[in-house]
Structure formats: C-alpha cells, structure tokens
C-alpha cells in the first residue's frame, strides 16, 4: 500500500512538474512585449517596513512581477507605461514611469482590517458597517492549516462556531454548529458557495478558499429566510488579480497514528475474570480457560486492526489576468489512509474561476469546480459491529489465525473476528461532482446594478460492495457470495436575480437590494444486488457474473423545490448610525400545500461611537461600535413528502411456496407540518485599542426556536416503523461569545494572538403534550438521552449508583416505602442504585452532554525567516456517555473488558466503587444505564502546531522564485483529557441532534506528523 502511494506520488510529481514548466513557458510567451527600460525600486508600508509579495504590473497588460521578501522589484517598462502596485489590505497606487528608472513606493493600509470587505448575503459590506454578527476567516488563516477538507478550516477559528468530528475516518464530513444547538432537528448551517447554496462543502479544496464568512445572528442570516435558522456559512473561492501570473505549489506529507489505545485485559486476565463470572453464576467453567495463567498476553485486537497511515497533499494554482480578464486555476490531489486498516480517501479536484469585464455595463464571471473522490470505508459508529467495537469486545484468548492459517472464530464471545471482517471488507465509493456558477452584473445606471446568478451542481456517485463466501464458524460465515452495486445522482440548480441600488448624498448612505430566486434539488438512486458469483476473483465481482437469476434491485428519487422573494435596506447616517432591514418570503415544497410559505423579517442597527466627536482621534480607543438586531428565520430541513402517508413495497410472504409482495404504510404523514421558526435577538460590541493592535468583539444573543420539527420516537404500540415528523415544541438558547485579537511586533519578532470563547445555555420551553422526547437508543438497551421542558436538550438519563451491596442483608434492607425489595435481582457485590425522594430508585438525569464553554487559541509568531503557528482548541464541562463500557465494563464478562474491571468486587469490603461490581455471567442488575457510564468529556487539544522557515530573499532571488517556505508540523499532537474512551471529540450520532455525546467507539482522530512546503513563483 505504502509503496503504491509513493509510486503514485512520484508519477503525479513528474506530471505536475511538466505541467508547471509548460505553464511557465506559455505565460512568459504572453509577456514578451516591447519593453525598453528597467525600472527598479522598493515598496514599503507607511510604517517603513518593506512589503514582500506586492504585485507590480504594467497597467492594461498582463505583464507584471512581485516584490521579493526585501520589498524590492524590477520590471521592464516603456516610458509611457503606468505601474500599478497592489497588495491585499493596502490601497493600490498607480505611478507613471515617465522615464524614471527607480521608483520607490509607499503603500498605505486600507485603514485597518476594519475596512475589510466581507461577503454578506447577496452582496458585500465593509466590515465596519456590519450591524449583525459575522465572523470572517481569510485565506491567510487557512493556508497554514493542513486541512484535508474545507469544514476543518473552521474548527476553533470563530467564537460560536463548533466543529466536531464524529469520526476520524478519512474523508468523512464534519459537523458544524453555529451558536450551539438551535433546534432538536437538523442543526447544520446553510452553506453558500459563491452565491450558490449547497448542502456540504466537502468537495471544495481548502486551498481554493479566499474567505469564509459565518453569519451568526438573525439580522445577517434572515436574507436566507427559510434556510438560515442555524447560521449561514458563505464560502468565496479565490479569483485572479490583474498582473503577472502568480504560481503556487504546495505540498505536504504526513504520517498518522492512533493517539491513544484503550487499556484492555490480556488473555490470562480475561480468562481469570471470565471463569470467575461463570463460577459466580453457578455455571460450569470453560475447560480451556481454567488454567488462565498459561494464556499469557493473547491477542491485542486493537493493534491488529490499526496501522500507521500515510497522508499527502499536492496543490497547484496559477492566478493572474489583466483589466479585462482575471483567472484563477487550481489542481489538487489529496490522499489519506485511515489509522484503522482498509479505510482511505482520495480527492482530486480542479477549479477554474474567471471574471470578465466585457463592457462598461457588463461583467461576467464563473466558478467551476470538478472534484472526483474515492474512498474505502469500514463499518464504524454502530455499537453492534463496528470494527473498533469488535476489536475492543472480542476476547484476547482467541488468536487472529488458527494454526492452519485460517481466521480463528471466538469460542467465548459473540463477536466476529475483526481482522477477518476487515479482510473481507470490499467496500468502495466513488463520486464525481461538478459544481459551478455563472453570473452577470449589469450596470443599469450609476449605483443601480442587476445581477443574475445561476448555479448548477451535478454529483454522480457509485458504490461497490462485495461479500465473499467464508466460513469461520456457524455464526460467522457466509455461504453465498453477493455482489452489490449502487448508483446515485444529485442535481441541483439555483437561480437568483436581484437589483442593488446604492446612493450617497451628503451624510446619507443608502443601499437597497431586492430579488427573486428559485431552486430545485433532485436526487435519485438505484441499487442492485445479486448472488452466487461464478468465480470469486476480485476482477470478476460484477453483477453479470452472478449466477443467481433473481437479483434484487431498488431505486427511488426525491425532490425539493423552493421559490423566494427577498429584499434588504442598508442605511447609514454620517458613517455613525447604521441601520439594516431584511425581509424574505420563502416557499418550500417539503410542506403540504397549505403550509408552504413563510415570511422572515429582521432589523438591526449599529452605532459607531468612535466616529463621534468625543471619541474621534482617541489614541487609546481607536474603534468602538455597538450593534443590536432582531430577526426571525426559518428551518425546513426535513425530508420531503413528510406531509403525506406513503406506501412502501417489499413486505413479502409466501403462500404454497410462491412469494408475493406486500405493501404497507410504515409512517404516518402529517399534513399540518410547517416551518420551524427561530427568533434571535443579538447585541454586540466591537472595539479596537491602540490603533487596533488589540481588537475585541463580544456578542450576546437570545435565540427562541418554536414549532421545532422532529421525528421523535413514539410508543411501539402505535405500530409505525418510521416516526412521524411533527412540529413539536420550542426551546431557548442564550449565549455569549468573545473574540480577542492582539497583533504586535518587537523588533523582528512579530506575533499575533487570537482567542475565542463561547458559552451558551439551552432550555427546552415547550414540548406540546409530550412530556419528554427520548433519543439515542444504545444497543436496544433503551434510550440514553431525554429532552424535557425546563431542561437543556438531550440529558443523559438513568440510575444513580450508590456503591455496592456488601452483604445480602444490605440487599434485603434496600426496600421502598412499602417494604418491597427495590433490587430483587441483586446480590452482594452488585451495584446499589440510589433512592430518589419518593423512596423508589432514582431514575433521572445523570449527565449533560452540553459543554459549559468552548474555546480556541491561535498563535502566529514569526522571527526573521522563522514562523510558528499553534492552534489550541477545547471544550469544558460536558459529559460523555461512554457507550463502549456497555462492552468493556460488563460484569457478565461476555466480552473483553477494561483493565479497570480487575478492581471488581470479590467479597465483602473489597471495594465499594459502583464502577466495579462483582462478576456474574447471569447478571440482571448492573447493566441498566446509570452514571457508571458517564464521564467528564472536557478536553484541550493542540490541534495544529507548525514551524516554518522561509528562504531568505537572496537565495529566493537566485532561484528565481518569490517565496519558498518549508515547514514541519503536527495535528492532534497533544490532547489533555480524563476521558477513558478512544477520543473525547464526540458530536451527534446516528439518531440526530438528540443523540448527543454518546460514544459508540467512533473512529478516533489521528495524530499526524507532517512536513511540507509552500512555493510561490
């Protein structure tokens, strides 16, 4: 595998180099024009520091260069030429050559980063004019994080944005939450890429991103109406700048490993405990385990299923253009092996973005990305048969292989051999995704523009699976080979048309935007499966080689459409008082005909105190702004057709040996389904001190969600197979967020410290007639979480432990008010569950998966040519329900156990710790969900640490490159936690937003060491 990776890499590298050379040749060709004199000079900023990387171009041509790291440049020009100096964050300057051979230039910063332009819905705004809560992440922040996917970029970057991974599986999407849990339904935000709303951003190469804006409050997101309730993340991809082409080549290589392994019993320890459990239950001993001391270490199953995995990333881009056409072109290949064997991911993507100024009144542009992905995944995150569950729970006595080389079955534990399971896993998914948008800007008159933006996305997915015949034991066997093939395609389009009018008169600044939009998301899939392959060779696993004449197949489509009208008004008076109003009316096809439309308004205002006379010119307080807003936004994130009762076929039975089909209605439609609405009030303050060396943003918000949509579990006696969707109740979130940024330099030492902090409280305020919603079923043993009025959502529920019964007398004395035994199945050594106030066993809240607060710390330091980046992220105060303990801490010894269980109760007075009851193979007391499974989930993690070195200018120049930076780094280098499971980073599980903080042995985050380089020329 590794060798193949290396070969692939070498091949790709050769191809890449050739491509680079070709590109260079072409671009030099283009710039060979009549030039006569050489102009040289230095570019500095107002504070006198030299500026490297400044674009120096001949106006109206594609000819140009960049300044070196000492700020100097040299360019051939004619006397008539005009030089254009441009640099991000600085005002561009144009200087006519007029025969000069030395032109030194001073560029002034475009004020501070407050003058940053941020992307907002259907337009842009100066950051200083914002009245809502918007966080921006720029390319510069992204470039130094070796992110595999775009969603990783957001982790820990912005206050109030939580990014968690349920899995460290290569290529798996992350879970992004803006401002806590807005709803008990799907809380993921809306993504808008270059104006085109999409469901996920996994297909985007992180290196292509120019900026990401997170719109947090209603006044910012209301322009997205029905889809903005859980925040909106706007992604803008890079575009070219006029001037000489800038070519970049970035690459890194990495090696990943599991950062922690659970401590499990070895063979002789397990055999000893197993024997004890059988004996305590009065069952016969297993002869092979009696002489437990001779069994030794046995098999380390976790080690057997994991590996040291390789990662590599290759990225290439070229951008440039002239006044008329600007382009950005990139190609990327990313490959990652999983730390659990047989899992990997590869993505190859290309992007072409162009902007064209065709006429004075017409500008056209496009963004096009083609991405192809391939991954092999393993069974994970289901608590029954996930590979890591199997590796954790199978006994250590069983060897991987029998002496004859065949896989060994476990004779003692009801678990498959996980190595054998991996060996026969032949699952592969491939996809090809083409996403793009075309837009046209028409200037009708000064200040009035019309934009039409059409986005299109096609995704073609293919799945392959194959189950060979094998026989390990009667229960772990497959007599019939089966081949599976699935295909899915999704197509989406979105078309928006809007007018923007801006007008400044005197101290009034007005901007009005109004538009319409329609969109259609269509998806379709089919799958087929057949059995009995002629020959089981890996190149023959196709449906056509299956000899069973009866293959099974199925397929379905699903479609969601929306139509919307929207408008916005921005007004500012004297650049001091700011006002914004939004309104949007949305129609969504997921609701029944009578409930399709919703109207979503918002208002917000800002006051720039620092522009007032009493603060203007204040040297300490360089910026101060107060903001407040209110708005309502919707949520329609449920599957379509929930309003009608629909038939499903395939419920077969046979009469006289002839199988016939049956149809049933496994769910019940709800024609009254309607929008979920979130009403948010936001108060914010932005401050800058000492010329904005220190910037501070604080936000406080109140968020009320009503008519929450949920498919809550219902009583089995209703007889439905699917839980019906209902508008079930309301909840309240209150939160505080803070971002602090400090930038300074001491001599050659530059540093930047960014800190973000967020906290929120959540309370369910209404659930209609329902007293509680249960969720997170675990191993069919019951539901772990309960959502009730007056409490935060998804509280862990169960018994409280109160030590262990030491004697039978204690069991007999543990009675309720009527003298009835509270735990009739218990014996000495079993857990005593605490009593509640009514004298019965306490059965209630035992943990809270919501954190007290989350935080992120970004450090950027540079000294001369060295730079160090560190990014630390953490959560505090949350509980995790360690679902793996359902196996590893079972007192009936039916599976392998944690070494903790060596401390079990073995007789009166041996221990009173309820975590370690007596072993009993017929246990009917200790398995109930209790605080025994609940652990503190707080952690602090060094997510990224990087040390880089940039080549000095002299060397760069002699190599004819602009910049070369080499670096080494590590991700997930260190995790501080007391959590005993695989990884404390746990988001929501299989069962949606209310399946929170329940660990089902999720694929842990790998610890990765990387080395890489960034090259610009």
């Amino acid at each position: 595998m590794k060798k193949k990776l290396l070969n692939d890499y070498l091949l790709t590298r050769v191809a890449k180099s050739l491509l680079l050379v070709l590109m260079c040749l072409m671009l030099t060709q283009l710039s060979l024009q009549a030039q006569n004199i050489s102009v040289k000079g230095v570019v500095k900023s107002t504070d006198g520091t030299t500026l490297p990387g400044v674009n120096v171009a001949l106006k109206g041509t594609t000819t140009g260069t960049n300044t070196g790291s000492d700020g100097t440049y040299s360019i051939m020009a004619s006397a008539k030429d005009v030089l254009v100096f441009s640099f991000l964050g600085y005002a561009s300057r144009e200087i006519a050559v007029k025969g000069q051979t030395a032109i030194d230039v001073v560029l002034s910063e475009t004020a501070t980063n407050l003058e940053q332009i941020v992307v907002v819905g259907y337009g842009t705004q100066r950051k200083s004019d914002l009245t809502g809560a918007v966080v921006s992440v720029k390319a510069a922040d992204i470039e130094k994080m070796p992110a595999a996917t775009t969603d990783q970029v957001l982790q820990g970057r912005a206050a109030g944005v939580t990014v968690t991974s349920n899995t460290g599986m290569p290529g798996a999407p992350l879970q992004i939450r803006v401002r806590g849990i807005g709803t008990i339904n799907n809380s993921s935000p809306l993504f808008v890429v270059d104006g085109f709303p999409v469901d996920d951003i996994g297909y985007i190469n992180p290196a292509d991103i120019a900026s990401m804006e997170v719109l947090k409050d209603a006044s910012s997101t209301a322009i997205y109406g029905a889809r903005g309730a859980n925040g909106v993340i706007l992604v803008s991809t890079k575009s070219g700048k006029a001037g000489a082409p800038v070519i970049t080549f970035d690459t890194y290589f990495g090696s990943s490993k599991m950062w922690k392994k659970p401590e499990l019993l070895n063979a002789s320890q397990w055999a000893m405990l197993k024997d004890e459990a059988l004996s305590n239950a009065g069952l016969d001993p297993i002869p092979a385990l009696v002489d437990y001391q001779s069994l030794g270490q046995g098999t380390d199953w976790v080690k057997e299923v994991t590996q040291t995995a390789a990662t590599r990333n290759l990225n290439f881009s070229v951008s440039g253009g002239n006044e008329m056409v600007k382009y950005f072109l990139s190609a990327n290949n990313y490959k990652q092996e999983g730390i659990v064997r047989k899992s990997d991911f590869e993505r190859t993507s290309v992007r072409l973005n162009m902007d064209m100024n065709l006429k004075k009144w017409l500008k056209l542009g496009e963004n096009l990305s083609v991405e192809s992905g391939k991954n092999h995944s393993i069974n994970e995150a289901d608590e029954w048969s996930a590979i890591l569950i199997q590796a954790t729970a199978i006994d250590p006595v069983t060897p991987v292989y029998l002496p004859d080389g065949k896989f060994a079955p476990s004779d003692y534990v009801d678990m498959n051999n996980p190595v054998a399971h991996l060996d026969r896993t032949k699952n592969e998914s491939k996809n090809l995704r083409i996403t793009g948008n075309v837009y046209g800007d028409l200037t009708i008159m000064k200040g009035l523009t019309f934009r039409s933006n059409l986005g299109l996305s096609y995704n073609f997915g293919n799945d392959y699976d194959y189950n060979p015949t094998f026989f390990i034991s009667g229960a772990e066997s497959n007599a019939v080979s089966a081949v599976y093939r699935g295909s899915n395609q999704e197509r989406a389009w979105n078309w928006s048309n809007f007018l923007t009018y801006s007008k400044k008169f005197n101290v009034h600044d007005l901007q009005i935007m109004a538009g319409v939009e329609s969109s259609d998301d269509y998806s379709e899939w089919f799958s087929t499966r057949s059995t009995r392959l002629l020959k089981e060779f890996s190149h023959l696993i196709f449906i056509s080689n299956a000899t069973n004449p009866n293959s099974t197949s199925s397929g379905l489509m699903s479609e969601k459409k929306m139509f919307s009208e929207y408008g916005r008004l921005n007004y500012s008076y004297a650049n001091k008082y700011l006002f914004t109003a939004n309104i949007r009316r949305d129609g969504s096809s997921v609701f029944g005909p009578d409930h399709r439309y919703g109207i979503f308004p918002s208002f917000s205002a800002g006051w720039k105190l620092s522009e007032e006379n009493f603060l203007k010119g204040n040297t300490l307080l360089s910026n101060l702004k107060l903001r407040a807003g209110w708005g309502q936004i919707g949520n329609d994130k449920i599957p379509p057709y929930g309003y009608s009762t629909l038939a499903t076929s395939g419920f077969r039975y046979n009469f006289n040996g002839v199988i016939i089909d049956g149809i049933s209605f496994p769910g019940e439609g709800n024609p009254d389904l309607q929008w979920e609405t979130t009403t948010t009030t936001n108060i914010g303050i932005d401050a800058g001190l000492w010329h904005n060396k220190l910037t501070l943003t604080m936000e406080y918000y109140l968020k009320n969600t009503t008519d929450m949509l949920l498919d809550a579990p219902i009583l089995s006696s209703v007889g439905m197979q699917y839980n019906p969707w209902v508008n079930i109740g309301s909840m309240k979130n209150k939160g505080f967020e803070m971002e602090l940024n400090f930038t300074d330099a001491v001599g050659d030492f530059n540093y930047n410290i960014g800190l973000n902090f967020s906290t929120f409280t959540n309370e369910v305020t209404n659930l209609g007639t329902q007293a509680a919603i249960l969720s997170a079923p675990l191993r069919d043993n019951g539901y772990v979480t309960r959502t009730m009025v007056g409490y935060p959502i998804a509280q862990f529920w169960g018994y409280k432990t109160e030590g262990l019964f030491q004697t039978q007398a204690e069991v007999d004395a543990w009675v309720d008010a009527n003298g009835e035994l509270l735990q009739p199945n218990a014996g000495p050594g079993d857990i005593r569950y605490a009593k509640g106030s009514d004298g019965n066993l306490y059965y209630g809240i035992i943990g809270n998966p919501l954190p007290d607060f989350t935080y992120g710390l970004n450090l950027n330091m540079s000294y001369k040519n060295f730079d160090v980046i560190a990014f630390i992220q953490g959560v505090s105060g949350n509980d995790v329900f360690n679902g793996t303990k359902v196996y590893t801490d079972r007192p009936d010894a039916t599976h392998n156990m944690s070494v903790r269980m060596l401390d079990r109760w073995t007789g009166e007075g041996t221990t009173n710790d309820a975590h370690y009851p007596r072993l009993n193979a017929a246990d009917a007391n200790n398995l109930a969900f209790s605080d025994r499974y609940v652990e503190n989930g707080s952690y602090t993690r060094i997510k990224n640490l990087q040390i880089g070195y940039t080549l000095p200018d002299g060397i760069s120049k002699s190599l004819k490159i602009i910049k070369l930076r080499i670096y080494v780094g590590a991700t997930n280098l260190l995790t501080l936690t007391r959590y005993t499971g695989f990884d404390p980073e746990i988001g929501t599980g299989y069962y949606g937003s209310l399946d929170l903080g329940v660990d089902r042995a999720f694929y842990p985050q790998p610890r990765t060491f990387i080395a890489g380089l960034n090259l610009t020329f």
Binding site: L278, D284, N497, F665, I714, S717, G768, G782, D892
Partner: protein, 485 residues
C-alpha cells in the same frame, strides 16, 4: 446612453419574469411513492396490504419468544450455542430474573404492533372500498384474514406480556398514549377477531391450492379454542374443539414423523402454519423468506449449525418406554440420520454446551433440502390437529368429561396403549409434553397450567412475578407514566 439602459432593463426584466413566472405550480413536487389517498382502489391493493400483515408472521426474530425459546426457557432443553456468552441475555431469563432493560424484549413487543398496525389499516380501509373496486366476497375475505392476523398477534402479546395497550385503529398524532388494557378487554378483542374471522373464512377443504397458508375457518376456530384454553373457559373450549373435530377437516397423519416432512406441509393434520420458503437471496435473518429455527437448533458439528436447544435428560426420560415419538423428537449423539439416502449423516452432538448430548429432530431437514444459511424452507407448525384433540382432552378433564377418548386418539396414532396415569390432568400434561415436545410450547404450557412454581420453581420461577415478561423499559420511559410494569 438611453438605448443601452433600456436594453439592460429589458434583459433584467425578462430574467426576473422568467424566474417569477415558473413559481405557480413550481412547488408542487410529486412524491415518488403511492400516497394512502391513492391506495385501496383495487383488489390488488387490498391483497398487497393484506400480504404485509402476513409478512410479519415470518419475521424470524418474532418467533424466538413464542416458539423457539419455549423449550429452552421452559427448561426442557439446554440453551446450547457457544456458551454463556452466546445470546447472553437469555442467562438471567433462565434464572427467571426478569429485567425490563433486557433489550431483546423489544423485538416481539415492537414487531407485533407493527403487524397490528398493518391489520388495522386493512380492517379500516378495505370495508370502505366500493363494489366496483373489489368484489364484496373478496372484500369480506380480506378483512376477515386481517382480523385473524390481528387476533394472532394480540394473542401472542397477551401470552408474552400480559396486559398491553389495545390498539385497534390507526392512531393519529397526539393520540398515541394508549394505556394498558385489562386482560378481560384484551381477551374479548381476541375472541371477537377470531369469531368474526371464522364466520367469513372458508374451510380448508374449500381453499384453492394456491391459497394454502392463508387463514381458514378452522384455523380461526382453533385459535379461538386456544384462547379459551388460556382463559380457562373449559366448556367453551370443549364445545369449540368438538366443532373443529366434527368438521372432519383435519386428521392425524398416519406416520408421526411425516408431520415435519416438506411434502406434508399444510397437510391433513395442519391447522395453521407460518409459511417459510427458501428465497435464495443469500441473506441472513429476516432478509429472506426462510426459517431461521433450523440453523438455530442444528448441531454445531453437522453443517453450519448454531447448536441451540439441546433436550435435557429429564425431558428425554419423560417418554414412556417404546414411545416412537422419542426417536422422532430426539437426535441421539451418533445416531445415523436419513440412513440409506445420499443425505446419510452421523449425528455429532458433542459440544460442552449440549450438556446431555441430544439435539431436537422435528425441524431438521436432510442436507439436500437445506436453504442457504438461515433461509431454510420448512414451515413452522403453530397448531396441528393433535393439539386440538389434546385441548379437548384437557377441557374435558377440567369439566369431568370423557377426556381419555380424545387423548387415546393421539396415542393410537403412535401405537401407544391407554395411559397409565390415573390423574386426568396429569395424563394430559404428560401427553402434551411428549406429543408436542420441542415444538416451543413448554414454558407457556407450564405457566398457563398454573404449575410454574411446581415445575420451574427450582430454577427461580415465582408465581405472580414470572407469568409474563415486563414491558420493555424503553416503552415505560416513552409513555411518561401511562405504562407501568
């Protein structure tokens, strides 16, 4: 300048108009599945909906508690399998330590109500169909069959869980919280469903061959009779058993072992069978139409068996000397199975968990008839005529009637002389144990006979506590106090 502006305005206007104009019917997306409102318009629809009711009968996981564990939990057989760690949830149940947190209790509870929901749908919707959609006789037949299936599942729910919620309509949102019904209410509904089904359904002899396996009048009467037996309504049970006997629809197979032969399925002795057939899909469990019991109870050393359900010596000793049913019921270790055929097999029952070295024989097929994995073709016999005779004997024994004439019919078939047990009830109990041995009835027989403490007390059975399983904890939790154990 003016011209250019108008051109731009026209372009903008046209684009907006196109965008807006498509909005009228734009949001009317059609569902890719048939809506309930478009269903129940033809005989085919009614048949499809009815098949989904029967479908649940064949879900393997449904049959564990009522049948496949009946002998293990009744201690006529050892659990077997791999050991304590194989299906470990059975261990506390074997000790009669019932715990509502035992996850496996969810399966029958949840799935029987799924079947009941499907039946309720048919019973509610099919009667509303007009004569031009479905012939009246067909309409009545479909509804009667659905009532039969509903009665069947309520019977099993009451048998397993005692008092449960009684749901006989499709519930609408907001009205799901149905409390437990009393035993009397549940039995009344079960009797009503079977009575109404019996009044419509055809006799078995009137059935077309292609209909074999569907509910019949005799089957509905037999289930009603079984309900009377469980309710201890002896006179009613005896009277109804006599009706079934008098119908001459059913006869004992001449040869006892033929009852389980594939070519005698739905045969003369069969009153109601769960229909299984090999579907050949190469799947496990409920993804096929086959019977999982066969692989479940097959020896671990013969083929791919899992080796559960190993008869105890105590059970084997129950057979009278010379009773041919012993050999028909028991596979001895080393016994030659299917001698003289290509399937000839030497039984190898050696396994530490197969404590007395026996396996059960009735449902074992010769290897040439095996399906793939758990996809075996043999039907599960729920009621056969011999049991009807034994109910008659039991009811007669309770009411002072001629119990022995019924009992002796069963013994005559296997050439056994009159019973030597003088106590009529004891004679019937013995006969049930040997005639119906390893047919999954043992635990439920002992409990309904009121002999739990007597027979199972030594394993931990407590009368009044272990008569029924607790309602699963998840249901108690979901009900918010409406359901209690």
């Amino acid at each position: 300048m003016k011209k250019k502006i108008s051109k731009i305005i026209i372009i903008s206007f046209v684009l907006v108009m196109i965008n807006v104009s498509c909005s009228k019917d734009f949001l009317d997306t059609k569902s890719p599945n048939v809506a309930l409102s478009d269903f129940f318009t033809s005989e085919a629809d009614a048949n499809e909906a009815l098949t989904a009711c029967y479908d649940v009968l064949g879900w393997d996981a449904d049959n564990f508690f009522p049948y496949w564990l009946g002998d293990i939990l009744g201690h006529d057989s050892w659990k077997g399998g791999e050991g304590a760690g194989d299906q470990p949830w059975m261990e506390p149940l074997l000790k009669f330590q019932y715990d509502a947190n035992i996850a496996e209790l969810n399966t029958p509870y949840r799935q029987y109500y799924i079947a009941i929901n499907r039946c309720n749908r048919v019973i509610e919707k099919v009667p509303l169909m007009t004569d031009d959609m479905i012939a009246p006789s067909k309409r009545e037949s479909v509804v009667a069959q659905a009532k039969f299936v509903r009665g069947y599942f309520y019977f099993e729910l009451v048998k397993l869980f005692g008092e449960v919620p009684l749901v006989i309509t499709n519930l609408t949102p907001g009205h799901y919280d149905i409390p437990k019904a009393t035993s009397a209410e549940l039995w009344a509904q079960i009797e009503k469903d079977f009575t109404e089904a019996a009044s419509v359904l055809p006799m078995k002899s009137e059935q077309d061959v292609s209909e074999l396996g569907r509910a019949t009048k005799g089957a509905a009467q037999a289930f009603l009779c079984k309900a009377y037996i469980y309710e201890k309504k002896w006179p009613e049970a005896l009277a109804l058993a006599n009706v079934i006997i008098g119908s001459a629809e059913y006869h004992l197979e001449t040869n006892y072992t033929d009852i389980w032969n594939l070519d005698h399925e739905n045969g003369t002795e069969s009153v109601f069978e769960i229909q299984f057939t090999s579907s050949g899909t190469g799947d496990w469990g409920d993804d096929n139409e086959g019977n999982e019991f066969v692989i479940f109870t097959r020896s671990r050393n013969n083929g791919d068996g899992w080796g559960f359900n190993c008869p105890t010596q105590e059970f084997v000793d129950e057979f009278e000397v010379g009773d041919p049913r012993r050999d028909a019921t028991i596979i001895d270790n080393g016994e030659i199975l299917w001698p003289g055929t290509p399937d000839e097999t030497v039984a190898d029952n050696s396994s530490p968990t197969c404590i007395d070295g026996y396996h059960s024989q009735k449902y074992q097929l010769p290897p040439s008839q095996w399906g793939d994995m758990s996809d075996d073709p043999n039907n599960w016999i729920v009621i056969r005529y011999a049991e009807v005779l034994l109910w008659a004997a039991e009811a007669a024994a309770h009411t002072g009637g001629d119990w022995n004439s019924y009992l002796q019919q069963v013994r005559d078939r296997v050439g056994m002389p009159e019973t030597t047990i003088s106590n009529p009830l004891q004679a019937v109990y013995h006969e049930r144990r040997v005639e119906l041995g390893m047919e999954g009835q043992r635990l439920w027989d002992i409990i309904r006979e009121g002999r739990g403490t007597e027979v199972l007390g030594k394993y931990g059975y407590v009368e009044g506590v272990n008569n029924h399983y607790p309602i699963p904890q998840s249901q108690i939790d979901l009900s918010d106090g409406i359901l209690v154990n």
